[in-house]
Amino acid sequence: MSQEVIDSRISKEYSAGFVTDIESDTLPPGLNEDVIRFISGKKNEPEWLLEWRLEAYRDWLKMDNPEWAHVHYPRIDFDAVSYYSSPKNMQDGPKSLDEVDPELLATYEKLGIPLHEQEMLAGVAVDAVFDSVSVATTFRGKLAEAGVIFCSISEAVHEYPELIRKYLGSVVPRRDNFYAALNSAVFSDGSFVYIPKGVRCPMELSTYFRINEAKTGQFERTLIVADEGSYVSYLEGCTAPMRDENQLHAAVVELVALDNAEIKYSTVQNWYPGDAEGKGGIYNFVTKRGVAHNHSKISWTQVETGSAVTWKYPSCVLRGEHSVGEFYSVALTNNLQQADTGTKMIHLGKHSKSTIISKGISAGRSSNAYRGLVRMSPRADGARNYTQCDSLLIGDKCAAHTFPYIESRNPSAVVEHEATTSKVSDDQMYLCQQRGLDAEKAVSMIVNGFCKEVFRELPMEFAVEAGKLLEVSLEGSVG
C-alpha cells in the first residue's frame, strides 16, 4: 500500500457536519456566578442545587487545566465560551414530540435518528440533547410500565429530587478534576435513568448529543442508577457541525450499579474531528465513572472516532465483593486528531475482576495514546485484572503510545498486561488486492478485524453502525 493510497483513504468528509438553522437563546460568552444563577434559574432549580453548582464553580476557580495528558492544544479561553444555548421556541420544554420544532426533528432525521419512527420500530428509547437542552425522550410510556425512569436530568431534578440528591456527584465528586468541576457548575442537561430493583430494562436506552450553536460548550450530565438485581444497556451517540473554531464538550457520566445489578454503557462518539489541517473540531474532555457494588457489573464499550482532542477515561470503582468491571475500547485517530484515552479499574472489593481490551488505531499524522490505571487496594483479596492493549498504525506519519499504570498493594491480586503494536502491512494489502478487493475495502476489513473483540461487545445494530463509521473515518487513509 503506497503512502498516497493511505493518505487519500484517511481523508473522508464528515457527514454530520451540517448546521441547523434554528433560532436559539444563547448566553453571551463568559463565566461567573451570575451565569450559573441564570442557568439554574432557567431550569427553576431548587436552592440546594444552585448552591451545589456555585460551590463547584468556586472549587473550579482554584483548579488548573490538567496538562499531564499526551495531547497538545492552545490554552482554552473559558470566557470565550457560551455556557448555555437552547432552541428558542422550546423554552417551556416540549410536552410531546408534536411540540418539538420540526427543524430539530429534521436535524435528528439527517443524523439517522428519526424519533418518530424510533418510537414505533426500533425498540430503542432515545433521549436527544441538542446544544444544552433535552429535546425529546421517546418510549416513555412503555418504560414507565416497567417502572423504568428515563428522562432529562433537569426534569428528574423536579420529579425525583430524592434520587438526584442522593446520587448526583456520588461517583464523580464536584472537585474530582478541572473539567468535572466545570461541568458540575454549568451542566445544562443530560439523561437520567433509574432501573428499579429486579427489573431488566425492556429495551436499549439511548441518548444522542448534538452541538449546533457556534462558540457553545456542551456540558451534559448523565446519571444512571441500577437498583439491586436490575439490568440496563445504554448507548450514547454524538455529532456536531463542522466549524472552524474549536468547541468544548465536557461531560460527566456517573453510573451506580447496586448489588447484583448490571450496567452496560456503550458509546459511539463521532464529534467533528476538525479538517485535514487540524482546524476546528471538538475538544472532548469527559469524565465517566461507575461504582459497582457486591456481585454487580459495569461494562464500558466505546468506539471513539471523532473529536480534535479526546481526553477520556471511563472507569470502574469495584467497591463490592465479586464485582466486575469491563472496558472495551476502539479509538481511531486520523489527520491531526489527538486522543489520550483509557480507563481506571480501582479494585476495592474482594475477588473483584476487571478486563480491559483497548484497540488504538492511528492514521494520518494523528497521535493516539492509551492510558490505563489498575489499582489493587490492600483489601482486594483475590482480585484479578487482565489488560490487552493493541495499537495499529496506518501509514508512517502517525504515533501510538501506551501508558499503563499498575499499583498492586495486595499480594493475592493478579494483574496481567499484554500489549502489541502492529502496522497494516503492505503484504496484507497486497493479499487483499490480489483477491480483488480495492484498497479502501481492504483497509476497512483489516481494521475491522483488528477491532473484532470490541465490536462484539456492542449491541448488534450498533456494531454494524460502528463498523461503518470506522470505514468512513478511515476514508482517505489509503491512496
Partner: protein
C-alpha cells in the same frame, strides 16, 4: 491467453528480469524452474501487480489487454490469481468474510450480483472438503495461526472459489509434506480446464510428478534460457541448474 515480451523489471534498485519472453495458451500448464534468485517469484508478482515491483521495459498482454496498465485488484477481478509462497495473516477477519468479499468483488466485475449466503456456504464447504480441511476452518481468521501446510491449502480454497482464468502458483510446494502436496496437486488438477491456464513456479521437480506440465521453462539471470517438455524437468533434477547455466554461458 498470456503473452510476455522482452520483459524487464526491477525491485528497488536491482534489475531482476532482463528480457523475458513467455507465451501461455488457454488450457495449458507451464512450469517455470530455476535456481534461487533467478527471478521466478518476481515474475509472479509482476504479473499480479505487486506494489514496488517496477516494469522498465517490455509488454504483457492478458486476453489481448495490456495487463501492466491494470491495478492490482483489476487484474484479480479479470481472473489473474496468485497463490502466495508465504500467505500473510489478517487477524480477526474470518476466512469466510474474506472469501465472500473476494468472490463478490470478482462477481461485481462480471456484472453479477453478490452471491447469496447459502450458495456461498455450500461452495465454500465443498472447497474445504477438496482441500481436506474441516469446514470450521472458514470461521478462523485469515491464515491466523495456520500451519505452513494449512496456509497453502487455504490458497487452494481461494483459487477454487474465485475460478480464475490464469493461476500463478509461487513455490506452492515449498514447506509441504508429501500428503499435503498431493492434496494441493489434486486440487490443481481438478481445476484444469480448456479456458484456464496455470503457471507453476517451482524450484524442485517433485511437484511436477503430480501436476503434469505441458511446457517447462528454465529461468536464469532474468531470462528464459531453455524451454522443453516435462522431460526437461527430469534432466534438471539429474544434472542441476549449473548445467543449464554453463550451457548458456
Amino acid at each position: 491467453m498470456l503473452k510476455i515480451e522482452n520483459l524487464h523489471a526491477r525491485v528497488e534498485d536491482t534489475e531482476i528480469l532482463r528480457g523475458l519472453d513467455l507465451e501461455v495458451g488457454a488450457g495449458e500448464v507451464h512450469a517455470i524452474m530455476g535456481p534461487n534468485g533467478s527471478g521466478k517469484s518476481t515474475l509472479g508478482h509482476i504479473l499480479a501487480g505487486r506494489p514496488g515491483y517496477e516494469v522498465t521495459d517490455g509488454s504483457v498482454t492478458f486476453n489481448g489487454e495490456n495487463l501492466l496498465e491494470m491495478e492490482t485488484e483489476e487484474r484479480a477481478r479479470a481472473g489473474v490469481f496468485l497463490a502466495f509462497q508465504y500467505p500473510v495473516e489478517i487477524p480477526g477477519v474470518s476466512n469466510m468474510e474474506f472469501l465472500k468479499a473476494a468472490v463478490d468483488a470478482v462477481r461485481e466485475q462480471r456484472g453479477e450480483p453478490a452471491i447469496d449466503a447459502v450458495s456461498f456456504m455450500k461452495r465454500a464447504r465443498e472447497a474445504c472438503t477438496a482441500a481436506n480441511l474441516p469446514a470450521e476452518f472458514l470461521k478462523r481468521g485469515v491464515n491466523e495461526g495456520f500451519s505452513g501446510g494449512e496456509k497453502k491449502r487455504n490458497e487452494l480454497i481461494q483459487m477454487m472459489l474465485l475460478e480464475p482464468r490464469l493461476c500463478l502458483l509461487d513455490e506452492t510446494d515449498s514447506g509441504l509434506d508429501i500428503d499435503a502436496l498431493q492434496v494441493v496437486a489434486q486440487g490443481v488438477n481438478s481445476l484444469r480446464a480448456p479456458d484456464r491456464a496455470f503457471v507453476l513456479v517451482t524450484h524442485y521437480q517433485r511437484l511436477l510428478n503430480y501436476i503434469e506440465p505441458d511446457r517447462v521453462h528454465v529461468l536464469a539471470d532474468g531470462r528464459i534460457v531453455r524451454s522443453g517438455d516435462k522431460d526437461l524437468a527430469l534432466h534438471l533434477e539429474d544434472r542441476g541448474y549449473a548445467w543449464v547455466e554453463d550451457e548458456v554461458a
